[in-house]
């Protein structure tokens, strides 16, 4: 009991700390706070065990001899309750006399009380435990009465969403026979249960709800739920536990909501769906604590607020952040566990806790604002002007925050009529300075080279008075005009997109063009007069596309003002296919492709529109492209295991280039195993087919579609298989000099809409201590092998990957059946580093320049060899973790992100750069002249 009480108090401390931490991180993403609560609750289970194992530590705070007297090195048995009171008393008044003389208590009085306590605890625990078990049984009963949805739409949606969310666990979807809230449960095999009304939902709502539930699966919330129940069973008497569980549930749902929104869904729209589902379920019973339920009513209000608050951060928990949180809370758990019960006294002196950095930062920021110690602080002043005209901008919000922290700025100011701002009494340090304006300006950060570029940090010395800073904030512009159809009539409800040339992320470069691609900045629909107006556009070079849009399609789009962190717009709609029956009875099928300003269907022939800061370009009129004859692809999918046609196999045509305006024709095979895809624009595609809920059989086939229909295509789909391999460190067997925590993954080439690389549900391979691993359930296909781990890429590099004679690192992995040999991955820690300085023509250092390292003549599969950094205020840079080889090093004052991955571009610039050969372990020092 002695121990029990100490555990109760320690766990309470742990929870209070978690509460403090989550409060201090209230502006962080919900996933972070969820992690805090999960870790804290895990800690509660671990704490009793740890208390037995760990050595005891005396807290230094409690050095008062009087307190030590009442500590628990005494015989730990009988007079616990008495001491409990005593210690409590001590905390409130450490000078009282009572503590120094522990009042002896008759065993005959304390024992029955103890028994009652134990009995009470056991009863409570049984009640909570039984409730959970009953809940499980109830869920099983509901699941048995439920049915698997018959329609293919559900399955297709599930497959698609699993794709988008990368959920690889086994997931079964069920429709219940009564009104229950949508819920998810399971630990290894997950089940998602939806209410009967779900079958009548719109495709849009299905998508939202399923995305939410799948996020639970992805986050393994079933496991957390089990943990939560265990904690509740043990600590049912502690009200703080129930508060923690309540918060955990709340943050869990919010984290899932955030994920749904990150998929590009409109927050307002999502909130409305949630509200409607909850309202429809207003009479539904509370089903079970064994599951994770979406539309829980008591927390809905706060969730809706959170959904609609676009200022909130919604990112997932990164591994680094998770590790950090686990570190902090685990450290705390063990330090509390190892502490004697006298540690309760530290409740009064929280400053002695091993505090988490965020709390300290927060308090530092607050005290900094109020600080009046003029000699220890600095000041910053400057002016906000309009980019282009240079006129001062009043009413701009200027924020000063710690460098590297993109959260809300702790210091804010508003510019006066002459555009000026001042920050005083700022502690010295590294800062970022940001200006925003609600009236159609793009936020600007100090040091930015262009309106969308990266900023640079300001170093503030103690006592420094930094004046004369200028932030040029860019006013947005607009492009407007008319869209007409071929007859000169206004084209109503045509999709008009403002496009920008941008480079794709490196993951895409293995199979797609490294040239910049047209990417959407904003998109609008014309009205019935054919008018459009695209506004809130940052200054820059634009291209314009227009295409008629399906009138019945529901528009999915979201437009956010330029001063909000989540900018831009996203839309999606099916293509418009028209059919016409000719007098001969022949059916002519046509499809619309985008037209580019001023009037071409070839993107490379499009004219650029230069939009200056605050420009309003009018009468940018266009005519939609004539519809093109649409092509069909017909054929059969054959199951290689039976040699028979595959019935109800999923078939899709994935374009080589997934552009700003792409549709993916898709369908299923019929009873004869044949398929017929229509409405296809000529071009290069992959025909992709799969069979089974977990895509047990898959296949792909490149198809070029020209000016004729493609018939009698035969695609054989084959079963998945395993690929075995091992990791070797420079001739030694793994782990070599020390264990490397490697994560291995297969990436499809091309990336996007291909079958799952590995069986859905199978875990990524584990590398055994002696270096062996197995990729399980690999689909036949083309891959790139990724060896990833943040720490690893700084200190080691992948020297080679081979499968038999094939060089997988250079040429990729191409497999159709289980390979005979092993995949051999050789890792070396002989990485090279480069330090240097970037100067201009007058040998002056250039701050915030972009330095890029481009491999010389590398294969398209080696996107990992490119590296880039920015110079600091003194023009210096440092690049580490470089694989040996030939490189070109270049520095630009201002460069489009990713341009250095374009070999053609690098070739043009090569004579401005520095060719360099790096050996294993090279440490180079370079001085580069900036390219302007």
């Amino acid at each position: 009991m002695n121990l029990a009480l100490s555990i109760v108090i320690k766990t309470t401390m742990l929870l209070l700390f978690a509460l403090l931490l989550s409060l201090s991180l209230r502006r962080a993403a919900a996933s972070t706070r969820h992690a805090i609560w999960t870790i804290a609750l895990t800690g509660m289970l671990l704490l009793p065990m740890a208390s037995f194992v760990l050595p005891t530590i005396e807290l230094p705070v409690l050095s008062e001899p009087a307190l030590n007297e009442s500590s628990y090195s005494e015989p730990p048995v009988v007079h616990l309750d008495n001491e409990h009171f005593q210690v409590g008393f001590d905390i409130q008044d450490p000078h009282t006399d009572a503590r120094s003389a522990p009042a002896p208590i008759e065993p005959s009085r304390s024992w029955p009380l103890q028994r009652w306590i134990v009995l009470g605890w056991a009863l409570g625990a049984t009640f909570v435990g039984v409730r959970f078990v009953l809940g499980m049984l109830m869920i099983r009963a509901i699941a048995q009465r439920s049915r698997i949805p018959g329609s293919d739409e559900w399955r297709d949606l599930l497959v698609q969403l699993r794709w988008e969310l990368s959920v690889f666990e086994h997931v079964q979807l069920l429709i219940a026979d009564g009104p229950i809230p949508p819920m998810t449960w399971g630990i290894f095999r997950y089940t998602i249960l939806l209410l009967p009304a779900a079958t009548e939902w719109t495709a849009h709502r299905r998508r939202l709800v399923l995305a939410h539930e799948l996020t639970h699966v992805k986050r393994r919330d079933g496991l957390t739920q089990l943990l939560v129940q265990a904690v509740c069973t043990v600590y049912w008497f502690n009200p703080l536990v129930w508060l923690a569980v309540h918060r955990l549930h709340f943050e869990r749902e919010r984290a899932c909501d955030d994920q749904v929104l990150r998929l590009g869904n409109d927050p307002q729209d999502y909130a409305e769906h949630l509200l409607e589902i909850a309202r429809a379920l207003s009479n539904a019973p509370h089903v079970s604590s064994a599951t994770v339920s979406m539309a829980h009513r008591s927390q809905l209000e706060s969730r809706l607020r959170a959904i609609l608050d676009f200022r909130l951060r919604r990112h997932k928990l990164t591994r680094l952040a998770a590790a950090l949180l686990i570190g902090i809370l685990a450290g705390l758990t063990f330090s509390i566990a190892a502490t004697q019960l006298s540690a309760v006294a530290s409740l009064a002196i929280p400053a002695t806790w091993p505090l988490a950095p965020p709390v300290e930062q927060n308090s530092a920021a607050v005290s900094g604002q109020q600080s009046t110690a003029a000699d220890a602080t600095a000041s910053i002043e400057g002016v906000v002007v309009s980019l282009g005209t240079g006129e001062p901008v009043s009413q701009a919000k200027v924020g000063l925050g710690k460098a590297g922290d993109d959260g809300p700025s702790p210091y804010t100011a508003t510019t006066s009529d002459d555009g000026k701002f001042v920050f005083q009494n700022i502690p010295s340090g590294e800062y970022r300075l940001v200006a925003t304006h609600s009236n159609g300006y793009i936020p600007v950060e100090y040091g930015q080279r262009n309106p969308l570029g990266r900023g640079t940090a300001i170093t503030l010395m103690t006592g420094q008075r930094l004046a004369g800073l200028q932030l040029a904030i860019a006013p947005t512009g607009s492009i407007s005009g008319h869209i007409y159809d071929r007859d000169g009539e206004p084209a109503g409800q045509a999709r008009v997109q403002a496009l920008r040339l941008a480079y794709l992320p490196s993951l895409f470069t293995a199979d797609r063009s490294t040239r910049p691609q047209l990417t959407m900045v904003q998109s609008v629909l014309t009205n019935d007069l054919g008018e459009y107006r695209i506004f809130w556009l940052p200054p820059g070079r634009y291209y314009l596309s227009a295409r008629p849009e399906n009138v019945q399609a529901r528009e999915w789009s979201q437009l956010t003002p330029p001063d909000t962190p989540l900018r831009g717009q996203w839309t999606s709609a099916p293509p418009v296919v028209t059919r016409r029956t000719l007098d001969s009875g022949e059916v002519l099928e046509e499809v619309y492709v985008p037209a580019y300003f001023p009037g071409t269907t070839d993107p490379s022939g499009a004219s650029a529109i230069d939009l200056g800061p605050g420009d309003n370009l009018e009468r940018i009129d266009m005519i939609v492209a004539p519809p093109m004859p649409a092509r069909r692809v017909q054929g059969v999918i054959v199951d290689s295991t039976t040699g028979q046609p595959a019935v109800r196999a999923s078939v899709r045509l994935v374009p080589h280039n997934l552009g700003h305006d792409t549709s993916v024709p898709n369908g299923r095979t019929n009873q004869n195993g044949t398929f017929d895809l229509s409405g296809i624009v000529p071009g290069s595609y992959f025909l992709v087919a799969s069979l089974g809920e977990d895509e047990e059989l898959t296949g792909k086939l490149p198809i070029d579609i020209g000016n004729a229909n493609v018939q009698k295509v035969t695609l054989v789909i084959r079963p998945r298989f395993n690929i075995r391999g091992r990791v070797i460190i420079e001739g030694q067997r793994y782990p070599g000099d020390g264990p490397l925590n490697l994560s291995l993954e297969l990436n499809s080439v091309p990336l996007g809409l291909m079958p799952f690389a590995r069986s859905p549900g199978s875990p990524p391979p584990n590398v055994s201590p002696d270096g062996y691993f197995t990729f399980q359930g690999v689909a036949p296909g083309d891959y790139r092998v990724l060896v990833a781990e943040a720490e690893f890429t700084q200190t080691s590099y992948v020297k080679s990957i081979r499968l038999g004679a094939a060089d997988v690192l250079r040429d990729g992995l191409h497999v159709t059946k289980e390979p005979d040999g092993e995949l051999e991955i050789v890792i070396s820690n002989g990485v090279a580093t480069i330090d240097g300085i970037v100067v201009d023509g007058k040998q002056k250092p250039v701050a915030n320049a972009t330095v890029a390292l481009a491999p010389f003549a590398a294969s398209v599969y080696r996107g990992d060899l490119y590296k880039n950094v920015s110079t600091d205020a003194a023009g210096r840079f440092h690049i580490q973790g470089i694989a040996p080889g030939d490189y070109t090093v270049l520095a630009w004052e201002d460069i489009e992100d990713g341009a250095w991955r374009d070999p053609e571009f690098i070739k043009d610039q090569e004579n401005h750069g520095r060719r360099i050969h790096l050996y294993e372990g090279s440490k180079e020092n370079l001085s580069l002249t900036v390219i302007q």
């Binding site: 508060l243 009513r297 008591s298 109503g492 044949t674």
Partner: protein, 555 residues
């Protein structure tokens, strides 16, 4: 080899030859009232009573003509969509081998509403949500149905287009308003707090979900503002959009509004003590049609706080077990405090069903129900009724329980028998025509007489050109002094040969109306029917008799 054979077999099975019995359809799509063909219309031929047959579709040529060949015989719906026109639908039947070439479908042009939205200072409001809502009817009640929404551009301009002709309301919502809901009845209110009540074995009961959510931190408060600059749709201007009309300058200024709270207590009328955990229902008089009228409010402690209420007149209903009560509140621009809702037990009464010329037996009564209804705007309290409320037993006797209030009698009759409610009396009072006012214990028995010899009416409906029309709506409306008896209204539509029949009519005086096209339920709106009053044909329905009429439908 085997594999290849299967593949070829499968491919050949797919290309089926058209059979001789297949029909074809020629037709044209024209602008209504003209013979001008409309190009670029999408025509879909959808087989009726068959979900498996994929529909055929085509697009009209320059002259508006379209053609379907190789169509299996059967009944089809032709659905036409064309940008700028109201979608139309027509039903046709194709016999084997038929070449149907006389299909002509007229399309009505749509209209548009445009304008500019500005804020209080006259600046354009960017990205504001502008909605067009159409006035329609639901159970005879006016309801605003969302039709289309648009966002303003950086000049504050909007344009809502492709609107079917009709009567519209336009509202604008500030982009900072989030999802608007007029009432907020959260318990804690404001920012979420940690002071959650904890109950062992369950999650926090917290607030009842009825709440209306404005975006966190959104201040000042914005609600939808209707044209012209009113937050109350009852004072908003209806915009009549005719075919091909362009209504411009529908400008709205969006200002923040002050929403108020109603606070008070639910007390027991007998003891004067607060009643905990009553169900509180709040409704506006008249209700705001585009909002959910009856949210529940937490009254766990006996007191309540209804937040974010727009100015107007409200009725608060409280139900606590057997106790009910109500209070009316007029809201101006400040909070209303200390509203007391006194609840008291419901009133019990007895009654009896008598069937004219017959002895009542169980089979007649099995589906017969008696209930009392307040005006359709009042909340449904049936959940608090006893299970056997209004269900007659054995000899036709029944019991009823209801809160104080004004009611109309509603008797649900078995569909299998040709019977009607002839009269209902409580003592000498005519409950059927005058309703029932309950303000204390009820003496005597509610005697309901069921007639077994109703009247009927049949006839045909023509248009102005004397052609019989299919799908016209025929409505039998009771004479003026009986218009509150909703059960006397009868509606049907004409069959393919323009004929209709209504039977099981309670004898009495009626007017018969017919419309080529009408919003469902509009005839229950007295304002609407007033404009058509002269077109109604007075009819007297006599017991056991059948009337026969020919009527011209209103356009």
């Amino acid at each position: 080899m085997n594999l290849l054979a299967i593949v070829l077999l499968a491919l050949s099975a797919q290309t089926s030859r058209p059979s001789i019995a297949d029909a074809s359809v020629h037709g044209s799509i024209v602008r209504v009232g003209t013979v001008d063909g409309l190009s670029k219309a999408r025509v879909e031929l959808r087989m009726m009573e068959s979900d498996n047959t994929p529909s055929l579709n085509t697009t009209t040529a320059e002259d508006g003509k379209f053609l379907f060949r190789n169509v299996t015989a059967g009944r089809y719906a032709i659905v036409v969509n064309r940008p700028g026109y109201v979608p139309a639908e027509l039903t046709i039947t194709l016999t084997p081998g038929e070449d149907k070439n006389d299909v002509q479908i007229p399309l009505t042009p749509t209209g548009a509403i445009s304008g500019r939205i500005s804020d209080r200072s006259g600046q354009p409001l960017i990205n504001a949500d502008v909605q067009a809502m159409r006035l329609t009817y639901e159970n005879g009640r006016r309801v605003l149905k969302f039709v289309r929404s648009g966002r303003t551009n950086d000049l504050g301009e909007y344009r809502l287009f492709w609107l079917a002709p009709g009567r519209y309301y336009v509202s604008a919502l500030h982009p900072d308003a989030g999802t608007y809901r007029p009432l907020d009845t959260s318990v804690g209110g404001g920012e979420e707090s940690f002071s959650v009540r904890m109950i062992f074995g369950g999650e926090s009961p917290a607030s009842v979900l009825t709440g209306r959510y404005s975006r966190y931190g959104a201040s000042p408060t914005y609600v939808p503002i209707f044209f012209p600059d009113t937050m109350d749709e009852h004072t908003a201007t209806v915009i009549d959009v005719a075919a091909a009309a362009n209504i411009d300058h529908v400008d709205i200024t969006v200002s923040p509004v002050r929403l108020v709270s109603i606070r008070g207590t639910v007390v027991d009328n007998a003891t004067g003590k607060p009643v905990p955990s009553a169900r509180l229902l709040v409704s506006r008089d008249p209700p705001l049609t585009n909002s959910d009228p009856y949210p529940g409010v937490d009254t766990a402690s006996g007191s309540f706080d209804v937040r974010r209420v727009l100015p107007g007149r409200y009725t608060l209903f409280a139900v606590a077990g057997d106790l009910t009560g109500q209070a009316s509140v007029q809201i101006d621009d400040r909070d209303v405090e200390d509203v007391t809702i006194a609840v008291q037990p419901q009133i019990n009464m007895r009654g009896r069903i008598v069937i004219e010329g017959e002895t009542v037996n169980d089979s007649d009564l099995s589906t017969l129900r008696v209930n009392l209804r307040e005006s359709p705007d009042k909340p449904d309290l049936s959940a608090s009724e006893p299970k056997d409320n209004g269900i007659p037993v054995g000899d036709g006797s029944f019991s009823l329980r209801a809160p104080h209030g004004d009611y109309r009698l509603n008797v649900t009759l078995p569909a299998s028998r040709s019977i009607y409610v002839k009269s209902a009396h409580l003592g000498t009072a005519d409950v059927l025509n005058d309703g029932l006012h309950i303000d204390g214990p009820v003496e005597g028995s509610l005697e309901i007489l069921i007639g077994t010899n109703p009247g009927a009416i049949e006839g045909r409906i023509h248009n102005q050109m004397a052609a019989l029309i299919e799908g016209a709506t025929v409505v039998l409306v009771p004479e003026t002094n009986q218009r509150s008896r909703v059960e006397l209204y009868r509606a049907t539509s004409t069959d393919a040969s323009g004929g209709f029949r209504i039977d099981r009519i309670a004898p009495g005086n009626y007017k018969l109306f017919a419309w080529e096209k009408i919003e469902d339920g509009a005839w229950l709106d007295s304002e609407f029917i007033r404009t058509y009053e002269d077109l109604g044909m007075p009819i007297r329905i006599v017991e056991g008799a059948q009337e026969s009429v020919d009527l011209i439908a209103a356009h």
